[in-house]
Amino acid sequence: MLAAVALVSGSAIAYEILLMRLLSIVQWHHFAYMIISLALLGYGVSGTFIALFKSRLQRALHGSFAASAALFAISAVVCFVLAQRIPFNGLELVWNPYQLVYLSALYLLFLVPFLFAATCVGLALTTFAWAAGRVYLFDLLGAGCGAMAIVAVLFVVAPQGGLKFVAAVAMVAASLACVGAESARVRFAGSLTGTAVLLLLVIPMDWLVLRLSPYKGLSQALAAVDARPLGEYSNPLGLLTVVDNPTIPFRYAPGLSFNAPRGPPRQLAVFTDGDAVSAITHIDGSLDSLTYLDYTPGALPYHLLDAPRVLVLGAGGGHEVLLARHLGASWIDAVELNPLMVRLLIDDLGAFAGNLFTTHNVAVHVSEARAFVADSRARFDLIKLALLDSAAASGAGVHALSESYLYTVEAFASYLQHLSPGGILAITRWLKLPPRDSLKLMATAIEALRRAGVADPSRHLAMVRSWNTVTLLVRNGGFSSADIERLREFCRARSFDAVYYHGMPASEANRFNLLSEPYFHMGATRLLTDAAAFTAQYKFHLTPATDDQPYFYHFFKWRTLPELYALRAQGGAGLIEWGYLLLIATLLQAGVAGGVLILLPLWLQGRSRSGSGGLRTGSYFFVLGLAFLFIEIAFIQKLILFLGNPVYAVAVVLSGFLVFAGLGSGFSTRFDKLEGTRRADPIHVVTAIIAVIATGYVLLLLDLLPLAIGLAEPLKVLLALLVIAPLAFCMGMPFPIGLHRVSVRRPDFLPWAWGLNGFASVLSAALATLLAIQFGFTALVLCGSALYLGAAWLLPAPAR
């Protein structure tokens, strides 16, 4: 049974990670986040379900467990297939209320598999509450291994293939659960279930073909006449799809000047998860076909530097590398996170791309950009951050919830430290009206310069805009008047507008691409003169992102919402940051749904019984659910930055957390024997240790970790695990201690404890993001620590 618990937990967390990948591909990341958050309410609802049918379920424990596990396996696949047939279009939400019906249908569908999985674990925990520590140990160990396993699986198969893996593991769990059954019939069913695993392997992949939203970039590209996918490449970082169109070639040159004599030559499009696009340009040796490059805004720094040594962060399809090579860079280091992208450019499409990545003066590094810079001892004449997100996604606030460590003050400081004297940091982003990214970039650069001891940053900054892009330059040592002359000439020849340089007259701000007001120039100037008043008055959030609050894409201000909402049909909808609002909507919906499905039945049942202390005990499990995830999420984020690679980092840290917490849970059974003795209540000791370690880490240790960033990767992983171990070990204890204590006093309350904890976890994930956006991860950890201390006070003392 314990092995079955581990397998169900493992496959459930694998399913969750997989769904996030799948829904991010067919829909968008923020919708995926909301749908899965609400589906996880299945954990909370399972508590209600067990409470209502407890005696019947526990009487045939093995059969119930096995049936739930088998139903989880089946529904994991079936619900995904059905969900793909729901025509939900998130982009239309603002116009069409029926989309809410589709959205609700998606929540409900995905709630089903989680409900079955959680019923398994809940049943085991509540039935064997006297050994909760051991059950919870296997639950967490299984989850930890499941998280690792699915990441490994995603290296081998496409995400939709991973569904089979999840279902197969759950089926094996069902089969295992039957082994210990007393009834021969159940044991026979178990062996049948075992063989059903084989059936899963033959599910035709056609049933699982991903149906992307027709509004995603990839769908749009494939809709064009003669478009054909050249290949699909998948790993946990994303699904890459290469599209070719011989009739209507793809052409990507953001911000290309109107004065360009011609556009780019033939290109192939590479979509990541069906959207964010990179172009691979065909290089046939003729310089003429590349003249367009000098007419893009990204060419500007090459007009200010002579044969620079360049670092490109985000090599993607090679646009920035091509630009650097074409405009005379002496050496190019290009960093790309996704090894598949690099392999595409080197192997499969190397000839098409003129062997760009294997040119004699180009070195391509597979690494995370921040980690590469932190680890590098080199100095560069030019550091370029490539424009890799899609204009549409960027405009619609899709990334509002995404952490990005590329655009924080600390990141900028690190880039600046790696500039040679006179070196330039150059960043191009999509232009948004009213300005948002551009001004936040400027604010971030100003803050980074100030932190580096530059008293007057104004001389170090310059910004230009085309009709749809904005480029920020930061020059080590400042811009000379000759530089500024060249910059002006560059803009004039391309009909770009200068936004800012030191001493720029306002009359120069709005010359070629006219705006109703020179918003960009005005904003940039005010950020240098009276930033505090300006950012307070401005209707979008411009305060720079930091490593503690790495939400560069978060521009939302509550006070702007009523105005934009009132204007939604008159163009305001495009200015609302939907990602953030969906997060709030997730919280509200989870709150209401949890209230109806978990709290209301609990209250009704409580009225019919005479037990007391339910509110306090329930609160204990609820608060634990909140606190655990607050701390876990914050540390995952803190360690992503240290470990560099987000995929490994999440897998290692998440699994580490779960496994060590599981071990802690197993250890906590020792306290059971102490219950009733005169020693200090273990819950107070454990929660105090958690609070001290967590607080100590965020205030002291995490600042020291960057010193070890240059270590070899395995050592860094080991160090990260060492950091996590004591904290997670202690965090695994309060839940089973509580369950054990409740099993003695009020066994009927056990399912509710499980359900409330599950409900809190759903709220906690959304709430953690919200708190991190507003106050940062440090605050989140402090909040989690305080909740642990509060929880200890809530749990009734052991009977003496």
Binding site: L91, P214, Y215, V225, I248, P249, L514, Y538
Partner: protein, 245 residues
């Protein structure tokens, strides 16, 4: 006599062809009038931002004439005159009426002019333009949409619209130069060939933003000397600074 009858019949047929097929009164007259009131309201609200106190009367007449319900999929007909974009299949949309009117107004075209549209979609924008100018050339890259729009525009009697399936990047050289070019889908850059095919004094209009969420419009004006000037228009009554007007 028989010849006369044939001639009368032919004349009648010819008249029917010359008049757009929707000329007779239709069941959607009232919703269309309501849509016009909404557009007028939006125009008044956004005049500081678009630079137009009111739209060209001819544009408004065209919007009031063209049967938008003919350009949306059957199940959505009842929503055709709401001031919002609608899906038309293949990941494409028919733009919000206000945006169509604004783009047509920004194109600033005269009756004897020639317009290129890149992205036929449903054909609605082409139909509006057809009411305003002498010739409309429209290119679509999605085959089923191109086919449907061609058939629909022909059925509705828009004889001055020529459509084709193909690449809009290089414009339509045989019919260039154009007095106005409307690109109806967001683009990451303005194709140099479109600029080249714009007549001196002509205008090019492009929307910017995701589907269903047009965020701004780009207006490119080609001066008499061939130089360019562009205007970026945020079609919403919104200023980013408190207290700023």
């Amino acid at each position: 006599m028989r010849t006369l009858r044939v001639a009368v019949a032919l004349f009648a047929l010819g008249t029917a062809c010359a008049l757009p097929a929707h000329a007779e009164s239709d069941a959607f007259a009232e919703p269309r009038a309501a849509m016009m009131r909404l557009i007028e309201k939006d125009v008044a609200l956004t005049r500081e931002f678009t630079g137009a106190a009111q739209f060209d009367a001819r544009v408004m007449q065209a919007m009031a004439r063209v049967p938008r319900h003919e350009f949306v999929p059957g199940p959505l007909r009842n929503h055709a005159y709401e001031n919002r974009p609608l899906p038309i299949g293949h990941g494409q949309t028919i733009s919000q009426p206000y945006i169509v009117a604004l783009m047509s107004d920004l194109a600033d075209v005269d009756a004897d002019e020639k317009v290129l549209e890149v992205g036929t979609g449903s054909g609605y924008q082409a139909a509006i333009l057809a009411e305003l100018v002498r010739e409309v050339y429209s290119i679509e890259i999605i085959e089923p949409l191109a086919e449907q729009a061609r058939e629909r525009l022909a059925r509705l009697g828009y004889a001055n619209v020529t459509t084709r399936l193909g690449d809009g990047y290089y414009g339509w050289q045989e019919h260039a130069p154009f007095d106005a070019i409307l690109v109806t889908a967001a683009a990451n850059h303005v194709p140099p060939s479109l600029i080249a095919q714009l007549r001196a004094g002509g205008r090019l209009v492009i929307p910017v933003g995701a589907r269903f969420l047009t965020q701004q419009l780009l207006l490119v004006e080609k001066n008499a000397d061939g130089s360019l000037r562009t205007r970026q228009i945020l079609p919403v009554r919104f200023v980013p600074l408190t207290g700023s007007h």
